[in-house]
Symmetry: C2
Subunit: 98 residues, 2 copies
DNA sequence: CAGCATTTGTACGTATGTATG
DNA sequence: ACATACATACGTACAAATGCT
C-alpha cells in the first residue's frame, strides 16, 4: 500500500453546527498553513469554490472576507485572490491557537 | 429665527462614487463620534436603516460589519446593536484621520 | 484600438434559523 | 406562544478591473 502526501480534500458539511462560511475559511486557512496553497496566485476563484463546496457566492465571499481580515489573502478585481507574503506564517500561527 | 442643534440627517447618495454601504458606515460613525448616537441601546435596527436610507439588507449589514470590525458597535441577536463602551472615543479618533 | 471572457465588487431580493424579551 | 432583531444562506443582476485576442 502506497502512502502519498495526498489527503481527502476537506469539504464543507452543510449539516454541521458551524456556519459553512466559517468551515470554508478554516479549510482554506489550513491549506495555506500547510503550504498546499502557497504564495502567489493561489486561491481558487469564487466560482470554483462555489462549485467544489456546493456553496452560494455569499458564503464563499464571507469565508474569503475572514481570511482577508486576518491578512492571509488579498483580492484584486479582474485578477484573483492571492496568499499574502506572510500568509503562510500567519496561517500557521493561527492554526496553532486552534 | 431660531437656531437649533438639529441638522439635516445625513443620507446616502445612491449615485455617488463611494459605495452606499461605506457611506452609511461613515454617517453612523460620525453620529457616534458626535454623541448623536451614544453608548447603550442606540443603533437603529437594520429594518429602520433600510427604510430610512432606502437600502437593501445587504448594504446595511455591510455597513454595520465595518463598524463592528472597528469595534465601534456590537450586535446581539434578538436585542439589537449597541455602541461599545469606548465607541465614541474610537469614532472620534477615526473621524480625525479622515 | 475594440471586443470579449474572466474575476472580484456592489447591491438588490428572499427564505429560514437563532436569540431575546 | 409570539413578536422582534440579528445571523446564515441561497439566488439574481450589473459594475469595474484585468488580461487576452
Amino acid at each position: 500500500m502506497v502512502m502519498t502526501e495526498e489527503r481527502e480534500a476537506a469539504r464543507v458539511n452543510h449539516d454541521a453546527a458551524m456556519p459553512v462560511y466559517r468551515q470554508l475559511a478554516a479549510i482554506l486557512r489550513d491549506q495555506i498553513a500547510s503550504g498546499h496553497l502557497a504564495a502567489g496566485r493561489v486561491i481558487p476563484t469564487e466560482k470554483v469554490l462555489m462549485e467544489v463546496h456546493d456553496l452560494g457566492r455569499d458564503s464563499v465571499r464571507k469565508a474569503l472576507a475572514l481570511l482577508r481580515e486576518a491578512q492571509l489573502i488579498e483580492s484584486v478585481p479582474g485578477r484573483g485572490t492571492f496568499v499574502t507574503e506572510n500568509g503562510q506564517a500567519l496561517a500557521l500561527e493561527q492554526a496553532k491557537g486552534q
